[in-house]
């Protein structure tokens, strides 16, 4: 009887772990892994475009607790920075092509990409100076936290 209970408990544990072990990819240039589901949480590490993560907790809609590619970095990432699609950088194999047409795979650097931007820029003699400059405007977590706190605003650090 005890053995059966033990087996049942083991299977339940195994099943619940299995249900969480979804893999996702980082779909933005760079994202932060934090110690809690909040933009005001401490940054534990950074992930880059295409990095694969394992989801360990998906109970919160806006934030996912994930384990990074090397298994060492675990923490919270915004759901908006992740996709269930596998992001592949190089294309060429048939599986990838099939994946691309079925929507399971997103091809990094294909389609409208940096090469297209370069050609578009030179064709139209367009100046991207201010576009590049405005992309450097990146307030820090501390700056935003202070702004929210001093302004009597919500300091939860994100939609929950």
């Amino acid at each position: 009887m005890t053995k059966l209970r033990l087996l049942a408990a083991f299977l339940l544990l195994f099943a619940s772990v299995g249900a969480f072990a979804a893999e996702m990819s980082v779909t933005v240039k760079q994202t932060q892994v934090r110690d809690k589901p909040s933009y005001l949480g401490r940054i534990l590490g950074v992930l880059s475009y295409g990095d694969r993560v394992t989801v360990v907790d998906d109970s919160n809609k806006a934030w996912l607790k994930v384990s990074g590619p090397d298994g060492k970095l675990t923490g919270w990432v915004s759901a908006s920075a992740l996709t269930t699609k596998k992001i592949v950088l190089a294309a060429g194999s048939e599986n990838v092509q099939q994946g691309a047409s079925s929507g399971e795979v997103a091809l990094a650097g294909k389609g409208f990409n940096e090469d297209v931007e370069q050609k578009y820029k030179s064709d139209g003699k367009l100046d991207y100076t201010w576009v590049d400059k405005m992309e450097t405007y990146n307030p820090s977590t501390d700056q935003v936290a202070a702004f929210l706190q001093q302004g009597g605003l919500n300091t939860s650090g994100g939609a929950q």
């Binding site: 047409s101 409208f112 050609k119 367009l126 201010w130 576009v131 405007y137 009597g152 939609a159």
Partner: protein, 271 residues
């Protein structure tokens, strides 16, 4: 109307779901390149107001608002630039590059009203209204070219075809933004989502109504800037007021109000 955060979230999600059917399948990375091109185009005929404290302020405020939206992160992030123009106008390129004029910022009487402007622009990004302006035929052609790009292993390049499509796609977006404006429905959707974002962030959404009233007094009917591309402020007010439905003012501690007023004045006093 129930204005609890839960219900406002539901409104926000409802808006997102209706948009889901119309959302493009461009990846965030592609959206990023599209957005950069749109912004570069808009900026090619406009001057930037390079005021460090004003720019820093609107970027911190934008980050605070985006944080409470349904899409806090885009490929390259949300960034704001102020255009040196008396015209009343704002543009949000796909992916989060937001341009607002000094003329528009002048219409805001306090930080909460600036938050209203940026929450509305952020909503256009979250709802992918810019991307949706790309004609279906171009999207279809872009997919075909993507397939070709994937199949090209060594040597072959279809960068010319892609660039031509890219050019046309950018023009679809800027034509919509600058000449026609988004449809009334999309503008009203952005207004509704802005109320959600403001409430989540801790701003009184009634400030959005105040901002619309201010626009009503400043915008010249029949003008070539705002009036050409946005619905009549009165129509927008009616929709916003229906949602707000006589909600009492949000209680804000005096110290917080004073802090917002002080930093708003310090940053945008010379706008």
């Amino acid at each position: 109307m129930d204005l609890s955060i839960g219900n406002l979230s539901a409104i926000g999600q409802g808006i997102q779901q209706t948009q889901a059917a119309e959302q493009t399948e461009f990846t965030p990375e592609q959206e990023y390149y599209i957005g950069r091109a749109v912004a570069a185009n808009l900026l090619s005929t406009r001057t930037v107001w390079d005021n460090a404290s004003a720019t820093s302020y609107v970027n911190v405020l934008e980050r605070a608002l985006a944080m409470y939206s349904d899409k806090p992160e885009t490929f390259g992030g949300y960034h704001v630039l102020i255009m040196d123009s008396d015209e009343i106008n704002a543009f949000s390129a796909p992916g989060g590059l937001i341009l607002v004029t000094r003329g528009l910022l002048r219409c805001a009487a306090n930080e909460d009203q600036v938050a209203a402007i940026l929450a509305h622009e952020t909503s256009h990004v979250v709802l992918e209204h810019g991307l949706n302006a790309i004609k279906q035929a171009r999207k279809t052609a872009a997919y075909r070219q993507l397939g070709i790009a994937v199949a090209n292993t060594a040597g072959g390049s279809n960068v010319q075809e892609l660039t031509d499509l890219f050019k046309d796609s950018i023009k679809d977006i800027t034509d919509t933004m600058v000449n026609n404006g988004y449809s009334r429905d999309l503008e009203l959707q952005a207004d509704q989502m802005a109320l959600v974002i403001m409430k989540r962030a801790g701003y009184d959404p009634r400030a959005f109504d105040d901002m619309l009233k201010s626009l009503g007094t400043h915008v010249k009917p029949g003008g070539l800037d705002f009036a050409k591309t946005h619905p009549d402020p009165k129509i927008r007010e009616a929709a916003v007021e229906k949602t707000l439905d006589d909600q009492p003012p949000l209680a804000v501690p005096a110290a917080a109000t004073a802090a917002r007023q002080a930093r708003w004045k310090a940053a945008l006093g010379s706008v």
